[in-house]
């Protein structure tokens, strides 16, 4: 298996070295960055496969890095990593273009697995993110503007529900009698909907979650 080249972007030095130490042998950490400016410059210079991106950083946070790097047309994949569980933050970075979202409490093995998955072009959903997506897509009474993008299929809903219940992809595949590859396809499809749906409710929902 080829090694995945990873850049860690986080403003906490202790956290960066912690992650570096925890990652498995299949991951090669090629560099670190501590703010938006240095992240954008380092990504352009090192061209890593996957960027581990902190959500809250000086200079605009992870969303700003996503906007500037993806806006320039670079082919880099992002995995957001944050202590924040706020819906606004989670939905924000996913809509910004991240391929997944995990919280910083994740174990080293799980993080390694998530990075590999993102490097392969798949999406990574934590149980909480799955819950947010179910909540956001369920909470609308308005008819979808684009039925293809604005609603989840029955199967996608089942997959998300199992992720929210704490199932790993392998366990989901077994539960639904489908292959792991199919599970990944469903999750990627949900990610695409989440990023492309223009549904007004999605952002409003995320904001309202915070303000209640």
């Amino acid at each position: 298996m080829k090694t995945v080249r990873v850049l860690i972007v986080d403003d906490h030095r202790l956290f960066r070295s912690g992650v570096r130490a925890e990652l498995g042998p299949s991951i090669q950490v090629v560099g670190e960055a501590e703010d938006v400016e240095s992240a954008v410059a380092t990504i352009a210079e090192l061209e890593p496969d996957v960027v581990l991106l902190d959500v809250h950083m000086p200079g605009g946070g992870g969303v700003e890095v996503l906007r500037r790097v993806l806006g320039s047309g670079a082919q880099v994949r992002f995995l957001a990593l944050s202590v924040s569980d706020a819906a606004e933050d989670v939905i924000g970075v996913i809509r910004g273009g991240a391929r997944g979202y995990v919280t910083k409490t994740i174990s080293g093995a799980e993080l390694t697995d998530a990075i590999t998955r993102v490097a392969d072009g798949d999406a990574v959903f934590s149980p909480r993110l799955a819950g947010f997506v179910l909540d956001a897509f369920a909470s609308t009474e308005a008819p979808p503007i684009d039925p293809e993008l604005d609603s989840l299929t029955q199967r996608e809903r089942e997959v998300l529900r199992l992720i929210a219940r704490g199932y790993a992809y392998k366990e989901i595949a077994k539960e639904l009698f489908i292959s792991v590859k199919t599970v990944e396809t469903h999750v990627s499809s949900v990610l695409r909907k989440l990023q492309l749906s223009n549904r007004h409710e999605l952002s409003r929902w995320a904001t309202a979650r915070r303000l209640v």
Binding site: D85, A86, R128, R165, G166
Partner: protein, 381 residues
């Protein structure tokens, strides 16, 4: 001191009567008569209304005796008609504008009474609008009173030059003072914002001190016990997260909040992280409360016996029903092997759910972990 109970109009006569040790009827009649003679009664009444405070009482005052109001009104009307016919009040006609003006200023003064103003200001927008309407009516009445008085004295023509002069001077003063007043207002606003910000900062500092610093101290003292350190850190993390990101929820009122609280308590008690994901929420009813208990029992079982490093809880509220999944990746067990006398699963989970019309399903096998699925119909919005 004006009493609140037993008023006819505003309790002025009653208050004054109590002060003078007279029967209020005597004073009421005196006010009516004075009003008919030259309007002085109204002015005096208004003045007394302004200057006597309301009896401070929290009791809701009884409703006005409208019969009495009508009686005094009729009496005054009759006397007034009589006086008009006989021409006795002719000389006092000039007093009427004063009376009108008096009522106007009375309304304005009423607005300024601190307690009342506060009551109006803290109320809804409608109340505030009512305040403006009242102020407008008050100003109008004062204006009518003043002009009427001048007209009655045939001095309106002379006064008009004076009025114009006064108007010009007032306008000039307003022009001069306006920027300064505006600056003062802005300053006040800024100070207010600053104060609010400081209060917020103080609140954050207090919270950080009470919780985070306290926990850090505890962690240092418990450094030899990794399990305790993890427990403390988890508990603090949860607390801080709730404080930062969670809307304030009442754990006695809604399902998601109740499940979260139960998870937090069991996590603290057993030192096993419980990950919780909630989709949707609804108010609690008896069935859902039973489900919260069953959920708690499931979490306790998972934390105590499964040896799983983490327990996942998923709550989904759908239009017709609520579902909870409690899952661990622990050692699992064979359901039929559980002795009948063990109350945990059969009574506290399955039995409890079924008593309230819900269902509980246990999915487990040795080495496969355990998942308990609880479903309950909803009756609440």
């Amino acid at each position: 001191m004006r009493p609140r109970a037993g008023r006819v109009v505003a309790g002025v006569a009653q208050g004054a009567a109590a002060q003078l040790r007279l029967d209020p009827v005597v004073l009421r009649l005196a006010f009516v008569l004075l009003t008919i003679l030259d309007g002085v009664g109204v002015v005096a009444y208004a003045a007394l209304w302004m200057f006597t405070a309301t009896e401070p009482t929290e009791q809701p005052h009884g409703s006005r005796d409208w019969g009495q109001v009508a009686a005094y009104g009729l009496l005054g009307f009759a006397f007034g008609a009589l006086a008009l016919v006989s021409g006795a009040a002719a000389g006092g006609l000039a007093m009427w504008p004063i009376a009108v003006g008096g009522i106007g200023s009375l309304i304005l003064w009423q607005q300024a009474e601190p307690g009342r103003r506060q009551k109006w200001m803290t109320s809804t927008v409608g109340r505030v609008r009512a305040t403006w309407v009242r102020s407008g009516i008050g100003l109008l009445l004062v204006g009518v009173g003043v002009i009427g008085f001048l007209a009655a004295q045939d001095q309106l023509a002379q006064a008009s030059t004076g009025l114009v002069f006064t108007g010009v001077v007032l306008g000039g003063v307003a022009l001069i003072a306006a920027p300064w007043l505006a600056a003062l207002w802005r300053e006040l606003q800024k100070e207010r914002t600053e104060r609010i910000r400081q209060e917020e900062r103080a609140e954050v500092a207090a919270h950080v001190h009470d919780s985070v610093l306290h926990t850090l101290t505890l962690i240092q003292r418990a450094a030899h016990d990794p399990r305790e350190v993890t427990r403390l850190a988890r508990s603090q993390e949860r607390d801080l997260r709730n404080w930062l990101y969670m809307p304030k929820q009442d754990a006695d009122a809604t399902l998601a909040a109740a499940v979260r609280r139960a998870a937090a308590e069991e996590e603290d008690a057993h030192g096993v992280p419980i990950e919780i994901v909630c989709v949707g929420d609804c108010d609690l009813d008896d069935g859902l409360r039973a489900m919260v208990h069953a959920t708690r029992q499931s979490m306790v079982n998972a934390a105590k016996y499964s040896e799983s490093p983490v327990v996942s809880v998923y709550l989904e509220v759908e239009p017709g029903e609520a579902t909870v999944f409690v899952r661990d990746r622990g050692k699992g067990f064979v359901l039929d092997d559980v002795p009948d006398d063990r109350m945990g699963i059969r009574q506290s989970i399955i039995g409890r759910m079924e008593r309230f019309g819900g269902t509980a399903r246990v999915k487990t096998a040795p080495g496969e972990g355990t998942e308990i699925m609880l479903t309950m119909k909803r009756t609440t919005p």
